[in-house]
Symmetry: D2
Subunit: 424 residues, 4 copies
């Protein structure tokens, strides 16, 4: 029997047990023979590893776990390298969320200036990882969950030769919504899906090849994402947008609400994670703690397991992932990372042509991709002028009076984590 | 000697004497044998025609002027049909400027929701004109000054077979700035220029083939457009933007300033035009009144004369005009109207390839073009849903909480001039 | 249980029993409830139908067969309409093979002038069928085996709205060769495949994601297609071409050999078919006659069954079929039919992006597609000038001294079957 | 007064006096202050230089001529570097013409295998020149007449940063034919022109913007190029092809005629050049010798003078030249050299968009460009396999039985001039 070794980079994440649970559940299809957990925080690493061992024993299928704080040790022997790092931790995330609000701009982990600074902190670390993979283990696949996954994927595709696929569970949201609100098996539902990570749209829905009726579409529109994007927009465009589109279509309202709320998502998660980690650390705990449900990201591992299945077993599966455009969306550069349905198998990731491109939203996708390309270049070069251009290009910023002071404050707040901007 | 007949549609405009002056000055190159003035306002028409006759006598070269209120009479015999109409007049313009401000959005004649409603009022009238030209005089050229010239040009290219070129003096701004601030003859200055009407960028400047030095570029950047777009942006990007980019890069500040100012540009122009028309109506007045200088638009006729020269005399001239994209800007649809340098001669208008496309602004151009395409379709179909999509697509609106009430108020305020939205 | 009805148009073909055998073998996956056999030759139709009933009884699974000579009766109730017609029969095929040889051009069923005249005879009949499907049964899929399948598919995509997919077993040849000569399971083999029907190339071979070594590729090259295309060419280009490429890379040699041989493939098949049909007509015969093996086309039905499985069961499968380009091969027009790997499911046929395009053969593909587009237009319009242009565009003709007399002789020889060329 | 220095590389060519004559005639527009003549053959160099001095004295305007056999001396000080070299001389040309005929393929200086070997001999020499220009004089323009100009231009654009424009008088042929046969001034004639050097087509003709009538087009078609391409083809396609298309549309007939004729064009030119050089060497000769008229290439210098005028005087002129595609012809790679109308001025060469692309010939252009790209790469790398692929890709070869022995014989016959193929 052939070895199948999975490395998890940033394994000290509270999400790790869910990935482990996925491997246990899918053991017939994805027979993992060893897990390598790597994290720079050895305390969290050991807490999570110990819990995962108890959890697997409880589930009745134990996969050996090796822990390490050395990147090279982790990446050199694995078939798949799952990355879920968070440079600067939730502390920096909270700043990403809070600083933009001061300037009337949404503060969010991946959308807007917060996402740009997350990219600034993360891209150099991920590029270093990619170069290690290139050097030590070039056949391995990087299964990237590290956010902002679109920018990270684009940076690695442009600046390394490592194999990477960028994941997000968002590609399944439209399927799951149609299934839930129309009572249709998931496997019968297909749709065109186009755009970027957290900036995408699903349309041309079919159930076993039959287009949805207007009434069916409206039924889904009435409920999808709990109304985060208002249903009239969805019905008007006949597209199901990513829930992150709320930050565009309802920007100023959300800025007001976030300011009023005071506590940010990051702060809430910080508190929750204390609770979750306390549970993980409890030697008596051998199942997922209750608090984890409030954490969000359920079903988080599904797309990773599907991708690993498709590659490891060379099963050709159409899956929605982030990869290089290469002419698929003709209004974007060839080297842009996009999130579309791709055929995935052992030979790699190949985008599948869309039936058509929706008339109402390609300009927004282009505008955000322009921002993303500038942000990736700024992240790699540590160039403040490019960072400023990225903010000018971002549809949620775009203005000098906002971009300049916002950039200055965020650069300073991130100084410790973005040495590339301070080494000239 | 062959006849050369120019029709001016909307000839009751205060700009008409400047066009006439241009024909007088260029009479050696463009030997106009008759002018046909058409306007639906016969009073203004006769005032302007009488003044122009006195003005030409004063200038020492009298071209016969025929006046008419019948469109078909005007278009049927002309070689060139210059259009400069303003449906709804300055009264509606003032509403275009004022209503958006209430919602925190710039109120402007051509940029943003104001421009969209100007398009809604204007496109059906211009399409009717184009169909008359197709029917009665298909070899004639429509020389369109009617704003928003990009949207009007795109609508006519899509929905008629009339020959049209969309003009704006903005294409000469970068040349004139380089010439003025560096003391270089205009004819030695070339640059790439790309984008849409009122949303364009000039770059790759050369003087007799030699690229501008950084110091030279900065000298121009320090003065161009009187700082309407702040010079740091210009220097960072190394592009000279259209002055209309101020509405993007300084949006919220201008909204505040416009609100504080109280009086809009349209109101100012209304007052000024009273003064100008009083002068025109004075039988003793035979030169351009002083007040006209305050009106703006000096040099307004230069590009029209250059285009007519290039076509009439079959002189191949590279001129910056609005025409159909047809693959020139690869990130935009083929049927998008764009504003780029084209070769103009009797055979038509052919875009000239750019040396490259600037990395920082293509996304904004795409976003605004997406808005424009939706707005053109909404204008032709009178479809409120498309109008709403257009506002969602516009980078200066984009939000449901703004778009919906703004649209409702503007539709009502324009009801009399947009029957296509009320006839379903 | 839901009905699944398959119509076979041109069911009097000697291939029909193989399709029937396929449905019997795949009955668990494709549970056909009725077969409708349609042919304009009622004798052959009844012979085949009777044999198929005996054959199915012998195989132990009897699907009811309905016979008809009415197209509308056949297409109105079926879920899938398998077309395998041959307008003009093998008599005309023999002329397609013989006439070009006189002019030093290969005579072949689908390649060169023979294929063009087959298209001229076939496209009007197939377009009529497509229009019937559009009118009577627009949700049905046309599963087209009718040759030249690329030209037929392009004509139907351009001139009707019927759903069609163009099939050829050639897409499996490279897989089968790698499997056979390297002893690898077929399911582990992937490759890029690009081009047109009978003018395609496979490359970038992988076995479970691992690229073939040079030695492995050379081993395949040494044997594939029995050397019809010489192995040095295959090794030099590192592409496996369709065997039809022999008509290009060895054209003059084959013309000489075909002339020497005297008897054409069509004549051989005619003789063989007499034998086969005699066997079919024998009431005692209930298995496939020996002579059929010599007929070729074994495995003929595999791709049809795979496509029907993928659509009927909404299983997303990557299959090599003919469909509309829509930007997949950027050097060909969007409306060109191409033969590439597509994702096939109930929602339709979506081309999958290639990893790259081989540097050595895109020009040949473009040249033949240019011929094909002209030939399709000539077939639809019955325009001799376009037919002549098609021959000029064809890399195997290209010359006036050949094209003109060849076209005249072939037009005359086909007069009875190409009324569109004689009705002006 | 500013210096304007022209270097002529390969100045020992019999064409040089015509270029000199052009500079004398255009001295008001192009005030050349010095000519630098460079040739590796010092005898021919001095003969030509002496004749040119006498010729200029006779013409009444003497430009100083400096002679040199050093490339670096020639290129370092010039504003424009006119290249007209012939590596291997007419001796090798005769082999290019004769060897292919043995294999039934046209033998021609620029078309087919002859042109490929000319490229193999020439590209390394021209690339060396380009690298010298890059190093010593990067602002200078290479005005390339060296054939095959399309392949040379593509090689230099791909493998150096020197400024180059590839010239051929063929772009003026359609204009001159329309002017001559319809009696219209040249300046009133415009047309779309697309393709490659010696493989191009003119269409969409207008006279002062008015499309040619069918009768007018047919009148031109009846006479253009003296029937080298038969007029029925021209009328059918409504395109005026380059006369070199005769080698495609009448290939086999011309092979027969050339074989019968025995003496090749190269041999004729060799004999003629002896006569011409004898005249040049005669100290009494001070005008162009009679024999030169038989040499062909009259009007040879017109396009060079137009290009130098457009660049030196920064006059924007639309001129047909060879330059990099960059998206102009969408069915060809971006880095392909193409021959189209470009705007030429001091800022460089910018292709102008065509109104449309003719339906009948893009595939042939693609096929030949595919050959050209392979040939350029083979020339630079000295790779026999690529040379073979180039012949497979060439529509006039394409076959293994021809390509292999032909390639072997031509490689051997050129051995002395293609060291890159023999140094591995």
């Amino acid at each position: 029997m052939k070895d199948l070794i999975i490395a998890v980079i940033g394994a000290g994440s509270s999400y790790t047990p869910e990935i482990v649970e996925g491997f246990v559940q899918q053991r017939e299809i994805i027979p993992v023979t060893k897990l390598i957990f790597m994290d720079i925080n050895s305390d969290r690493l050991e807490t999570i590893a110990s819990f995962c061992r108890r959890f697997m024993r409880h589930l009745g299928h134990e996969i050996p776990i090796q822990t390490t704080t050395e990147l090279s040790a982790a990446v050199s022997g694995a078939n798949f390298i799952v990355t879920e790092i968070r440079v600067g931790g939730n502390q920096q995330r909270v700043l990403d969320e809070k600083i933009p609000l001061k300037y009337g701009v949404i503060g969010q982990e991946t959308t807007g200036p917060g996402g740009m600074f997350k990219a600034f902190r993360t891209i150099p670390v991920m590029l270093n990882l990619a170069h290690e993979v290139e050097k030590l283990n070039p056949d391995a696949w990087i299964i990237n969950y590290t956010n902002p996954t679109g920018l990270v994927t684009e940076a690695i595709c442009k600046y390394s030769n490592a194999k990477i696929v960028g994941l997000c569970s968002g590609g399944y949201f439209p399927r799951d919504a149609v299934s839930k609100y129309l009572g249709v098996p998931k496997g019968e539902i297909f749709y065109d899906y186009f755009g970027l990570n957290h900036l995408n749209f699903a349309y041309n829905f079919t159930i076993h090849g039959r287009p949805l009726t207007d009434a069916e579409f409206d039924m889904v529109a009435d409920h999808v994402h709990g109304g985060l994007v208002e249903k009239e927009i969805i019905k008007n465009m006949r597209l199901i947008p990513s829930p992150y589109l709320q930050y565009y279509y309802h920007h100023d309202r959300l800025v007001r609400e976030y300011k009023e709320k005071g506590i940010t998502r990051g702060e809430y998660v910080q508190a929750l994670e204390k609770e979750v980690f306390a549970a993980y650390a409890d030697p008596a705990e051998e199942t997922k703690p209750e608090a984890l449900k409030k954490r969000g990201g359920g079903g988080y591992s599904e797309i990773a397991l599907d991708v690993i299945d498709a590659i490891h077993n060379n099963r050709s599966r159409p899956l929605i992932v982030n990869t290089s455009n290469q002419g698929t969306l003709r209004f974007l550069p060839n080297d842009a990372a996009i999130e579309v349905q791709c055929l995935v198998n052992a030979s790699g990731i190949s985008p599948i042509q869309l039936h058509d491109t929706p008339a109402g939203v390609w300009g927004l996708v282009a505008a955000v991709k322009n921002y993303e390309q500038l942000a990736v270049e700024a992240a790699v070069k540590g160039d403040r002028n490019l960072a400023l251009q990225a903010l000018y290009a971002h549809p949620l910023v775009g203005q000098s009076e906002i971009a300049n002071p916002l950039l200055d404050e965020m650069l300073e707040a991130n100084q410790r984590f973005i040495p590339q901007f301070y080494s000239h």
